[in-house]
């Protein structure tokens, strides 16, 4: 089977062009397949045409993967901008449109930002999915109730510690969120991705020093699964998927309807993942608004 890549992460495309990618299929889902790279042990994703671009991701001209006959463990090799998976499929990346994650500058108009944050909060309250960071008013099990409590408590404490510039406490609370929650990418991870997206925006008034982010990235590896870890690791460096970038762009200089459209796209990610990320974004924005310019993390 021969498939064309429609678009792809610029770095992934460069690796393919240099014929230096080899690995195995790590996991298979309806809309994505993850490949584990021999060279750097990172996960790379091939996605169907319904998904957006993202770090380490190729978007293919294919609707679903279950007809490809691919299996976990199948060998993957690149050759001249083509990705060969077993003898089953061949992915040509020659015409793929390059995508690079570039976060827009932090919004400069504080008054508009205030309104946008309020809007996002209200919209998430109405349209966001419960069960993760957004608490279900009637949790269905004691497990869900306890998990919601822990998510709420730890995210609140993290925000307080960050606002107060208490570095060590903040690291502990952030790590307390990693791997916590339902879903393949636990809610705590998604929340942190949202938060890190904001603090990585150029010109964001709130500064998170490298050692803080580095510690999270290092420790997260043992605290969450490999797929979610890749997402957190990339977000620590400001690498997030296209729908999140589009939302940040809409916040930065978009119209109200662009903001709405972009927020909806984020909310539609996964089950509650989009909502969890959006709440992380809101937390990051509020943190910047309240503590930006006067607090940054200090080693206590």
């Amino acid at each position: 089977m021969h498939i064309h890549a429609l678009s792809g992460d610029a770095e992934f495309l460069r690796i393919l062009a240099s014929s230096s990618f080899s690995g195995n299929i790590h996991s298979i889902f309806e809309r994505t397949i993850n490949l584990q790279c021999d060279q750097n042990d990172e996960l790379y994703t091939i996605a169907n045409d319904q998904l957006d671009n993202g770090p380490n991701t190729l978007v293919l001209d294919i609707k679903r993967f279950h007809e490809t006959g691919l299996e976990v463990g199948d060998r993957v090799l690149s050759q001249g901008q083509t990705l060969q998976i077993g003898n089953k499929i061949e992915i040509a990346a020659t015409q793929a449109k390059e995508w690079e994650c570039t976060l827009p500058p932090y919004p400069s108009n504080i008054e508009i930002l205030k309104v946008d944050i309020a809007f996002m909060k209200e919209y998430i309250a109405v349209h966001g999915k419960c069960g993760g960071m957004k608490r279900n008013s009637r949790p269905s099990t004691p497990f869900e109730a306890e998990m919601s409590n822990m998510l709420l408590q730890r995210s609140g404490l993290l925000r307080e510690a960050l606002a107060a510039g208490k570095s060590e406490e903040a690291v502990q609370y952030a790590l307390g969120l990693v791997g916590l929650g339902p879903g393949l990418t636990p809610s705590g991870d998604d929340f942190l991705v949202g938060l890190f997206s904001i603090v990585n925006m150029p010109g964001a008034p709130y500064y998170l020093p490298f050692h803080f982010l580095e510690e999270i990235a290092t420790e997260a590896k043992r605290l969450t699964n490999e797929i979610s870890y890749m997402m957190v690791k990339k977000a620590v460096c400001g690498q997030v998927r296209e729908s999140v970038v589009n939302l940040l762009q809409a916040l930065s200089k978009g119209t109200a309807s662009e903001l709405l459209g972009a927020l909806e796209k984020v909310l539609s990610i996964g089950s509650s993942s989009g909502t969890d990320m959006a709440l992380g974004l809101v937390c990051g924005l509020e943190l910047n608004r309240e503590a930006g310019g006067r607090a940054c993390l200090l080693k206590s």
């Binding site: 349209h127 004691p142 822990m150 879903g183 636990p186 605290l223 699964n225």
Partner: protein
């Protein structure tokens, strides 16, 4: 109590599947609690906190899937786990039907191309935008949300009109489309009568009465309460009439509304002239002359509207049980009431049912007060205190601001009922009990203790308190119509067979010197 644990090593499911599996696992019979989650340290901490951790779970790795089932016995745990395994097996089977939640109307419309209707119930601030999106996706819309601006309503209805789509609402609570009741509605027979209604419970009542007379419904199209206002101009009612006129299955059309704006009434009546099918018009408090002049069939009450519709649709009037008023009963009640007990107090969940009873009372009495009175001098100023004959629409914003509708939560009506029952000038308290989709699961049951208390109080004070109940529902509704009626009768409540009869009986019970 027993706990079963299964660890699926290096197993990944996407988040949507995991959440869905978890929800379904908790619905399996015998399961007290089921957890399906990745084996991360933090998720294990949650298990520890809720007392579900086991050594096996402690050993799970971050890439493992943990399945935990808690049930009363080992056997139940085992059988529940078999059920969960089945869910995992079925997960890949895309042929079966399943419930999918979509985050946006766009994604739902793309995934279900055969869908042609969207029911929208979101915060009013976002409702117009969602409705527009649905219309852009060529979906008819039923918009349950209120607090939508009149400008948005006009724009949406004009847009729908241009696209040949129905825009039911905003604030549209009742529709029956393709024999499926949406939001609030009753289970009625399929038939050849189409309804376009600007008032929810009025439309419900007419559909229920049609069913009672042996007829049935093709479609019940709601318009939203403001459709027949001067500004909106009846766009949806006119489009609804046109749709039913073109619908082969519909033989008779019924129009229901609170009093429309005069200019809109003119437009609607003008369209009747162009209809190929007979049109019955029930505009509460409306005038017969103009309707008849337009070629329509005038109805003064909901019951008359239903009766005329079934007869026009082919029923033999002589064979119908028209459920006439029980005059011996009226005489009996009159004899029990003292001269001081001369007032009606109506406590209604349904706005149109309240309106109908109020208009029937106004035919006889001057001093009829209400929170929905059109005459300013008889509009209640203090909602907490009744004057003379008082009819309260307890589903109106006056009573529901920040509280659920009394069809769902009857607590406000219960308190008011007890207050009215203490008033020695009250002869009869009339109430509706609405059955069907969206309503309280036992509307009579929740009122019974208050009814019994009120009856005892009146007896202690040596007076008879007449309580008149109307159960709006059909033999197909849930909870069972007969059971609800029986409960009321057992508590000494007099039963009215229709909204119209409830209004007439209440009026006649307190009539003096006749």
């Amino acid at each position: 109590m027993s706990i079963k644990v299964v660890i699926k090593e290096s197993t990944y499911f996407d988040s949507v599947s995991l959440m869905s599996l978890s929800t379904k696992a908790n619905q399996i019979e015998g399961v007290e609690q089921a957890v399906i989650a990745m084996g991360t340290e933090m998720n294990k901490e949650v298990l520890r906190n809720v007392g579900l951790i086991t050594p096996e779970l402690e050993a799970a790795k971050t890439s493992d899937l943990m399945i935990v089932v808690k049930a009363a016995t080992d056997e139940l745990c085992e059988s529940a786990y078999v059920g969960i395994e089945e869910l995992f097996t079925k997960k890949g089977d895309t042929k079966g039907k399943s419930e999918i939640k979509y985050a946006t109307i766009d994604s739902a419309a793309k995934s279900i191309p055969e869908a042609n209707l969207a029911v929208i119930s979101v915060n009013g601030a976002f409702a117009a935008r969602e409705a527009r999106k649905a219309l852009e996706n060529d979906l008819h819309v039923m918009l349950f949300s209120d607090n939508v601006s009149i400008e948005d309503e006009i724009a949406l209805k004009q847009f729908a009109h241009e696209k040949g789509l129905l825009m039911m609402g905003p604030d549209c609570g009742t529709a029956i489309i393709g024999n499926v009741a949406l939001c609030f509605g009753n289970a009625v027979r399929k038939g050849n009568i189409g309804i376009v209604g600007a008032s929810g419970t009025g439309s419900q009542e007419v559909s229920v009465r049609i069913h009672d007379f042996g007829g049935g419904i093709t479609q019940l199209i709601g318009t939203g309460g403001r459709d027949l206002s001067e500004q909106v101009g009846g766009i949806m009612m006119l489009d609804g009439m046109k749709a039913l006129d073109e619908d082969e299955a519909t033989k008779v059309i019924v129009l229901i509304s609170k009093p429309p704006a005069p200019s809109v009434e003119e437009k609607v009546l003008a369209q009747i002239k162009n209809c190929k099918k007979p049109v019955v018009v029930y505009f509460i408090g409306g005038e017969e002359t103009a309707v008849v002049a337009a070629g329509g069939h005038f109805a003064k009450t909901t019951k008359e509207a239903a009766l005329k519709a079934v007869v026009l649709a082919g029923a033999n009037e002589d064979e119908l049980n028209k459920r006439p008023l029980n005059w011996p009963l009226i005489e009996e009640v009159r004899a029990k009431l003292t001269p001081e007990q001369k007032y009606i107090r109506g406590l209604f969940c349904g706005g149109t049912l309240c309106d109908e009873a109020m208009y029937l009372a106004m035919d006889t009495y001057e001093d009829v007060y209400s929170n929905i009175q059109k005459k300013p001098e008889y509009k209640l100023k203090n909602l907490h205190e009744s004057i003379a004959h008082t009819f309260l629409d307890m589903g109106d914003d006056d009573f529901t601001n920040g509280k659920p509708h009394p069809m769902i939560d009857p607590s406000t009506r219960i308190a008011r009922f007890l207050q009215e029952a203490k008033d020695p000038s009250v002869g009869v308290i009339v109430m509706d009990f609405i059955l069907g989709f969206g309503s309280h699961e036992d509307p009579v049951g929740v009122m019974l203790p208050a009814i019994i208390e009120a009856k005892q109080l009146a007896e202690k004070e040596g007076r008879h308190l007449e309580i008149l109940g109307y159960v709006m529902g059909t033999d197909l509704d849930s909870p069972k119509f007969e059971d609800q009626v029986q409960k009321l009768m057992d508590a000494g409540v007099t039963i009215a067979s229709s909204s119209t009869n409830a209004g007439l009986l209440a009026r006649e019970f307190v009539a003096k010197g006749v």
